[in-house]
Subunit: 246 residues, 2 copies
């Protein structure tokens, strides 16, 4: 069964509280990077896989997108999205990404922000994404960086007796598959994949790789969350921009 | 001044002795991977950047290449190449890659095996490589993996009191530039670059990324060098296959 951590009430409350603070890794690292990779939103039809509460869907409409379909596994998220980011050009669908069926619909841009590491079968996902993209359409996603997910431990910073971070611990890089992390609650399941798997699966399915971003914090993030300086030491996220060629 | 570690007699003697043993990371990990990435050698004109003693140049001719130009900074290497792997279809040139001048010559395939981490200016190198490639020509290279080069320490395996490897230490990932390693001798200078720099510099210069390999040992390597099992834990090398599009 697919894990849906966002239905866990402890997790969901913490998550929403964090996101609403505006002081998160998403705000200062991941969202600026993924937005920077988008060629244009004007008049584009967009599919947002893992849309959460619809902030990004709303952003797309504000930037001139013609329509957005937002998909999320979490009923909590979709309910909130429909209240907070409702718009006539946005449709929200509550379903696991793996089970999404959109007959005869294709999109100019498919985006997925920090959702793909929850998906077990990456290859099947890419086949599906290709089938949902117009030719020359863009697929842009962020995911936890393979350097961050490789070792299956709760905390991979190795510290000295005073709590100073000595280095990042990496292990089991080539062993793809399930990892259990702690993120507000224990046992959050994600899937580790190598850089080469992330890239080659796209290439083998007729995508070109257009840009790879290993983002660091924007300057205001370093003021508000000083620990983000640690992104210089090891990347938390990777953003890949690709295009369906044929 | 460019470092040419291969002119250090201590280093060179050790290096040759190791390579001639046939029991190396090159034999079991890097060479099988880079060879697997080549589409075809038949009737191809090939430039080998960092050709060493010419083993790969000779391999290309044996596989039907029409000509090979082998380039190496080391006079020791080129002298040996001319004795051991001389062939009428192979030309050897002793020069730093950065200073190579080949007027009006273009190649179908440019290959570089574990040399690019010695080059300080990667961007300038890629511009040069593009100028030396025929349209649709392939550029395939191996380099030390960014995971392996990020932290500037001699040994990045963290061990317990019994010498067992606990994990790989990673740090300073985003800080590109000079690293000093120990490899037979102290102070071997290499340059660390991120995954995104390796990829984006190619893409920005009109190359497509065709394959990314993070190789592990071939089975016979695990028999002869049991420590190669550690490649499962962290990759030593990365191989990138690219193609000049325009």
């Amino acid at each position: 069964m697919k894990q849906n951590i966002y239905e866990n009430p402890v997790f969901f409350k913490e998550y929403i509280s964090l996101r609403e603070s505006g002081v998160t890794y998403n705000d200062f690292i991941e969202q600026p990077a993924i937005k920077s990779a988008i060629s244009t939103l004007t008049k584009k039809s967009i599919l947002d896989l893992g849309c959460g509460t619809g902030h990004f869907a709303r952003y797309c409409i504000d930037k001139g997108a013609s329509k957005v379909t937002g998909v999320d596994i979490s009923r909590n998220m979709i309910d909130r999205a429909k209240i907070e980011n409702s718009h006539e050009k946005i449709e929200y669908i509550c379903t696991p990404i793996e089970e999404l069926e959109l007959h005869n619909q294709k999109f100019d841009l498919i985006i997925s922000s920090l959702a793909i590491h929850y998906i077990e079968d990456y290859s099947k996902l890419i086949v599906k994404i290709r089938s949902l993209l117009n030719k020359n359409g863009e697929f842009i996603f962020s995911t936890e960086h393979p350097i961050a997910t490789a070792r299956n431990e709760v905390n991979n910073w190795v510290k000295d007796e005073n709590g100073n971070k000595l280095h990042w611990a990496l292990d089991s890089y080539q062993e793809e598959g399930k990892r259990e992390h702690n993120w507000y609650v224990d046992g959050v399941v994600i899937y580790h994949r190598t850089i080469s798997t992330l890239m080659n699966t796209l290439i083998d399915n007729g995508f070109s790789i257009e840009k790879v971003i290993e983002p660091q914090s924007i300057p205001s993030g370093l003021d508000k969350m000083p620990k983000l300086v640690n992104e210089e030491r090891r990347p938390s996220f990777i953003v890949i921009k690709s295009r369906r060629l044929s």
